[in-house]
């Protein structure tokens, strides 16, 4: 048993889990084209969930803050991006790829800016007074989520909002029997690019080193001469901006959004953070991909179990690894 564990660890350890899940699904689904379509959809969904969850994982790990208001940024990002895209509808439908790309770029940038500014406001006004008090954090951030939902309702109305997509992201690539939506490929690549940027920042820069150290032992980072409270606000703003970016991408994926989007995503985002391991970007990516793949495979094989599948996945992983798949602190 020990030898088997060592062999698995050398082969990649828990990183192999998505491959194992995909292999099992391949056997159960039996139709290669369906399996490829579901796998690509799962990976794309996983990457968008990764965008939403990565910031929460860092905030949770570094600041020990249970921020249930995080998913408000998902909604906000979705509605801001949808509004910009609607406003630039003429550019989206144009034949010019440049105008298409510019419209998407402006929509995502607007979502990011709102995330950064909202994150600064949220940390300064709502989170700072309740550091080190988990019960008050839960109450106040849940309250903030409800307030944010109501604000979105007041600004954008209760009718589900259609989200136009840029022309160049419409359609699908056909490979034999397999049809892969271009938007899903784009979502996957964007998520991957953000992951690589985050990974390099955390592992190759001094600020990243400080964040990783702060996740483990805030007090010691301060005793080395660093003001971790200033780092907190930066991480919180970054986390909120990533959530708005994830929300913006999700809006384009769903093409129809409602103010309850954030609350609907909250559970999934928390599941990903918990199964990935607090404060770990690698863990969050792994957790998000697992959730994306399992959700899609189960949705195809046993549609009635689709909603329960993520909960079952979380329970199974926590029974096996109580600190999550790849926690930042060992």
């Amino acid at each position: 048993m020990k030898n088997l564990t060592q062999i698995l660890a050398r082969m990649g350890g828990v990183n192999l889990l998505p491959v194992a899940v995909a292999a099992v699904a391949f056997v159960l689904i039996g139709v290669p084209s369906s399996w490829v379509t579901l796998t690509v959809a799962g990976l794309a969904m996983g990457m968008m969930i990764f965008l939403m969850a990565s910031g929460l994982s860092l905030v949770f790990g570094l600041m020990d803050v249970l921020n249930f208001g995080h998913s408000a940024f998902v909604s906000l990002g979705a509605f801001v991006a949808a509004s910009v895209l609607t406003w630039l509808a003429g550019w989206l439908g144009a034949d010019s790829i440049f105008l298409n790309v510019m419209a998407l770029f402006l929509a995502l940038t607007a979502a990011l800016i709102v995330g950064l500014a909202g994150g600064w406001f949220f940390e300064t006004v709502i989170i700072r007074p309740v550091y080190k008090d988990h019960l008050r954090q839960i109450l106040i951030t849940m309250g903030a989520l409800i307030v944010a939902e109501q604000l979105i309702l007041a600004v954008w109305g209760g009718t589900p909002m259609a989200v136009p997509r840029p022309q160049f992201l419409e359609g699908a690539i056909i490979l034999g029997d397999v049809s892969i939506e271009i938007y899903r490929i784009f979502a996957f690549l964007l998520g991957l690019a953000v992951y690589v940027a985050l990974y390099l920042t955390l592992n190759r820069t001094r600020i990243g080193l400080l964040i990783r150290a702060g996740v483990e032992n805030r007090e010691m980072v301060e005793a080395l001469g660093f003001r971790i409270d200033r780092l907190f606000i930066g991480v919180f703003m970054l986390g909120s901006a990533l959530a708005t970016l994830g929300g913006a991408m999700w809006a384009g994926y769903e093409t129809l959004i409602s103010p309850s989007l954030g609350a609907e995503m909250m559970i999934v985002v928390f599941i990903v953070v918990i199964i990935g391991g607090l404060g770990s970007i690698e863990g969050t990516l792994l957790g998000a991909i697992m959730v994306g793949l399992v959700g899609n495979y189960v949705g195809f094989l046993m549609p009635k179990m689709a909603l329960a599948s993520n909960m079952i996945l979380m329970m199974a992983i926590l029974m096996w690894r109580p600190s999550g798949l790849r926690p930042a602190v060992k």
Binding site: R206, A213, E216, E222, A223, G225
Partner: protein, 234 residues
């Protein structure tokens, strides 16, 4: 010359007063040992100096400047390093990353790094390993190395021998002797035999109050006083 002064320092943790009117003067140079039984207030004293717990009333003066209202990070930047009882190494970071975090510029001074290699050769051997995989002794070496990777005026070290093998304790004593030639050490210790081999001056804290101060040589010679203050049988 006086380096650090604690003036009538009282520290409360939640509703409990842990330190009462602690007054202490630490001279510059050598090893100053703070002895005391479990729960006497030794760790609280060090944490209060670092600003991790706030003394009120009372003050901490370092090189003549009142530092009791400063943030912990600012206390550290004054030239005070802290090695906590649990060592405080970052397990997910390599030895190199732990040390680089303690530098001011993110770059090593080669001479200081070589000095660390001489003091603790194991750190060079396991340079790229994550700190969680090190033994207890190696973690303590890393914690001390982190405190001396930059020039400091004062190092606060909390019970460095706890749980270590005798051979590691001897190596640690040699390292402290060498470090104290250039940097003042305020050492909190329960292991009296280790402490008396290093200390020049000393104090005993009991129930949150300074019960005795003097030279280590005098205290080591007075068995009755040791028994009274530390309940030592040997």
């Amino acid at each position: 010359m006086t380096l650090l002064t604690l003036n009538a320092m009282q520290t409360n943790i939640e509703q409990y007063a842990v330190l009462h009117d602690v007054t202490l003067t630490v001279p510059e140079g050598g090893v100053f040992v703070l002895l005391g039984r479990n729960g006497a207030g030794k760790t609280t004293t060090l944490r209060s100096i670092m600003g991790l717990w706030r003394p009120s009333p009372g003050s901490v003066t370092f090189r003549g400047e009142d530092i009791s209202a400063l943030h912990t990070a600012e206390v550290a930047r004054k030239g005070i390093a802290y090695v906590p009882e649990n060592m405080g190494v970052f397990g997910g970071l390599t030895i190199e990353e732990n040390l680089i975090l303690a530098t001011k510029t993110g770059k090593f001074d080669t001479a200081r790094l070589n000095r660390i290699y001489d003091l603790f050769p194991a750190l060079k051997t396991f340079w790229g390993k994550q700190a969680w995989s090190l033994s207890g002794g190696q973690k303590q070496m890393l914690a001390v190395a982190r405190a001396i990777i930059e020039p400091r005026d004062l190092i606060l070290i909390d019970e460095p021998t706890k749980g270590l093998a005798p051979s590691i304790i001897d190596a640690m004593a040699d390292a402290f002797r060498e470090i104290s030639e250039t940097t003042t050490i305020l050492l909190v210790e329960q292991n009296f035999h280790f402490a008396k081999s290093l200390g020049r001056d000393m104090a005993v804290i009991d129930d949150g109050r300074i019960a005795h101060t003097g030279s280590m040589a005098d205290f080591a010679a007075d068995k009755a006083l040791q028994d009274q203050l530390l309940s030592l049988s040997a």
